[in-house]
Symmetry: C2
Subunit: 532 residues, 2 copies
């Protein structure tokens, strides 16, 4: 089959830009939507629902800009909209006109299929609802658009009145709709019952069936798979499972399950191997922290901490993985943790290029030091660079240090005119010289970071290319009356590689300073500087 046939024989339909953006805390600008569409196209989905032109001004704009700014390789764009209003002709409804004029080759029409919703939400008769479906589908079909029907609240509707729910699907199909998408809008279905209904509907309606699920019962992905098992050949979902309430079916999990476990090629394998990168790139655009536990694509998805496992993983990694993480562009990781013990510290060392197996004393010393620091609140699981500095310090017999800290100060002033100024001073001893430097920034740590680099700039010009990429603060609540501590994680980049460092202290600025010093020290090591 050609790629095009693959996409047509089984539809992977992404609705991140429409239904996904209903998630609490998620708000996408038009530029964000265009960026996400490009990522989804790179993954290789067949269809991208861009939004609701006419109803949401941002979405009208998205479809306008898409015509010149989006050069999709795989995917086709779909415009989402609803059936015509009651009592008007489809051709005269301005919202239907907006769909027609969006430039999208596909229109996905949402329609009521639940008798109570027709009555209470739409406030019309069952006959008029059917006419609205028929007219709108016929009109758009006659205008040359391909039409998919989203049957909203379908499963609840089918349980309430199966004959009417089916009649909605048949009406759409007779009017020219290509797919009837059964939507579990409230997300409450469980797989067994859902599969039975899909099976019945497929037999009774004679149309191509699609499935749209939500995770309110923690079964969105399983429900999508159950529907496919019962004959659905069109699956809707969203990147990273974004969506209202508990989210939509995570399209990444659905695709990986279909392709790697059920043997259906639904996207190009090359796209699948990019899935982890794409999941994180989309999260970057949405500005929501990626879920580390996300199946297949999360940073923890193939991370092992248990001491019990860590020793066996050395023997054969496949014994402890449900798939080869490379297939989805992810990696196995060993976590350094108090739970893990020596076996995982040894493995982690090997990952960083140090063979500790021949040196049990150092291994024991490093393990104890990690346990001691973790008891204070440090966490090396997400701070590889700080762990490597610790390891090198233990191997070398002294901490890795390029400079001595004499003092620092950082402050924010809100002046009488309302202007706020952040400045910092840092005094170091570098290569035998005392250096005092100042920096400013948009916060006290940013000012301190700039002052630190300024103090090191003359002695270490290589530091100029470093950039602070991410800064995370966690309050660790105190146990047994001790004061609460703050853990700071910093990610730094030199334009090629990224590394993460950690600092812990009761004082957030002190913790930040530790992480900054580790970040710069690791950067100097990476540039090949030698400790003086």
């Amino acid at each position: 089959m050609s790629a095009k046939d693959v996409y047509e024989s089984f539809h992977i339909y992404d609705t991140t830009l429409r239904d996904g953006s209903q998630q609490e805390g998620l708000s996408l600008a038009v530029a964000d939507k265009l960026a996400i569409a490009r990522h989804l196209d790179a993954l290789g989905v067949g269809f991208i629902e861009g939004g609701w032109p006419g109803a949401v001004p941002k979405d009208t704009e998205f479809f306008r800009r898409a015509q010149t700014e989006l050069d999709l390789k795989h995917a086709q764009l779909a415009a989402f909209g609803k059936t015509r209003r009651t009592g008007v002709k489809a051709a005269d409804d301005p919202l239907v006109a907006a769909l027609r004029e969006s430039g999208a080759p596909i229109v996905t029409l949402v329609a009521k299929s639940h008798v109570r919703h027709v009555d209470l939400a739409l406030r019309t008769t069952l006959e008029e609802n059917l006419a609205m479906i028929r007219d709108t589908v016929e009109h758009l079909h006659a205008e040359g658009r391909r039409v998919f029907l989203d049957a909203e609240h379908f499963f609840d509707g089918y349980l309430a009145d199966p004959a009417y729910a089916l009649e909605c699907l048949r009406t759409a199909a007779e009017a020219g709709a290509d797919v009837a998408v059964l939507c579990d809008t409230n997300g409450g279905m469980l797989p067994t019952q859902l599969a039975d209904i899909v099976h019945e509907v497929r037999e009774a309606s004679g149309t191509r069936i699609g499935i749209h699920t939500h995770d309110d019962a923690a079964c969105a992905v399983a429900n999508a798979l159950a529907a496919v098992d019962a004959g659905a050949t069109h699956v809707q979902g969203t990147a990273n499972g974004y969506g209202e309430r508990s989210g939509n079916a995570n399209l990444f999990s659905v695709v990986a399950n279909l392709q790697l476990k059920l043997g259906r090629e639904v996207i190009p394998p090359a796209g699948l191997a990019e899935m982890t990168r794409i999941a994180h790139a989309v999260a970057e655009v949405t500005n929501l922290a990626p879920n580390p536990q996300a199946p297949y694509v999360g940073v923890s998805a193939f991370a092992h901490k248990a001491g019990l496992h860590a020793s066996a993983v050395r023997v054969d990694p496949d014994l402890y993985q449900h798939i080869d993480p490379q297939l989805v562009g992810n990696d196995m990781r060993m976590l350094v943790s108090e739970m893990a013990g020596r076996a995982s510290i040894e493995l982690k060392g090997r990952e960083l290029g140090f063979d500790l197996s021949a040196d049990p004393d150092t291994l024991a010393r490093v393990t104890n030091r990690v346990k001691e620091l973790e008891a204070q609140g440090y966490s090396f699981e997400a701070a590889d660079a700080s762990f490597e500095l610790l390891l090198r310090g233990e191997l070398g017999g002294a901490p890795v240090r390029f400079f001595e800290v004499l003092s620092w100060r950082t402050f924010a002033d809100r002046l009488a005119d309302g202007l706020v100024v952040n400045q910092a001073t840092v005094k170091l001893r570098v290569k035998g010289e005392e250096v005092l430097a100042a920096g400013e920034g948009n916060g006290p740590v940013n000012a301190l970071d700039n002052a630190l680099r300024a103090a090191l700039a003359a002695a270490y010009p290589a530091l100029a290319g470093l950039e602070l990429m991410d800064y995370k603060v966690r309050i660790l609540t105190g146990d047994h009356g001790t004061a609460s501590r703050t853990r700071v994680l910093i990610t730094t980049s030199d334009g090629v590689a990224e590394w993460s460092t950690v600092g812990v202290d009761e004082n957030v600025i002190t913790a930040s300073w530790q992480a900054l010093v580790d970040a710069v020290t690791f950067g100097l090591l990476a540039k090949g500087e030698t400790v003086v």
Copy 2:
């Protein structure tokens, strides 16, 4: 049936304290474990697995302290451990002794049931593995312990060599084990195949079957339900789905699905109604941010943002909810958002006690103001108090203000002796008087917060009881070359109620200051103070 019969006829078995604590970033002190056990007991689970005494010192300590410090109403404690080592008697294995001496009435033994794991990880013969199972179960059973068997990697093992996998279960049952728990250790199973295997195993083994699933294929909960459908009457899972890699089956989702959708009473209904509170209380102990999207118990689980829905929700909430959120102690919420439009702002206003339906001008003004601020990076979805201040400001024709800010300064000094000091000064005009006050803290914002309250203390003594509960910082990346902004969310408590406020600025301290001022202003309003 009595409560005890309920728990015995269907086992809800929690393994948060053992398998859940394998999650990356999760580390529980003994006091944390005791606290979580109390929360799970309040929920009404039948069994709590406390850890691995003998192997993990913290867990040995947990079982020791549990005997005097835990007064469980519903649950029984289980100690986790493994079958005896190769070549020794069970009675002589110190790890088996630790299980015997833990004081737990139940011992859950993990055993290999996969031929390749016996060979490569255990490095022994298939016969010796069976002997290890038989001897350890017999010994503990003879010592008066109730024994459950966790058959590790069972499904992969059954697919590799079904006869041997079954033989492991039969051996355990003959030796006195009460339940054979089939573990999908690597988490890669899908519901249909898993259900088929559970069905076959139940017929062939004749023992009581339990199920233990992981979420690597996003099907942990569905897999647990599929196993129950196929005859399993013992389900293992963890609070909030904590666990290694993508986590374990979320026990809260499993229980709610079983009880509310499948009609099985597996915990007391009073416990179910506490589930949302308990889920958040456990998250508080683990110090992991609760997942807002968590099914049933997440703060977003019943939150509506879509304009399309918001207007219909007013007609009949049940049309848009899969269950009544009260059943699990959760609530429907309306979100204020640019997507939502007037209908949701009106609903939100009503939730706060303001009827905007009669005042379309104000409604339009508030809606526009919210859209304008959201475009700048504000988010009112998680900042009810800031939204209420905005609303009251628009209704009253002027911002709600109890004081005028003249200037402030906050700084951190690292002195030559290594000591770090944070201090702040704040100058306000309060009730006509200029007030200058100082504060110190463990960071610049904490110092500023203390200085602000100090400046207000004389005029408003009611502020003394306020406490800053949570402080969150989000970097919002800039769009189209604008500078990045920082959003700060602050949660404040007066010991009874909690409220959240938001601030946005390029400078993190300025953003924090805005949120602090809103927090204090809302606190004064709540105390019944009148704006002067």
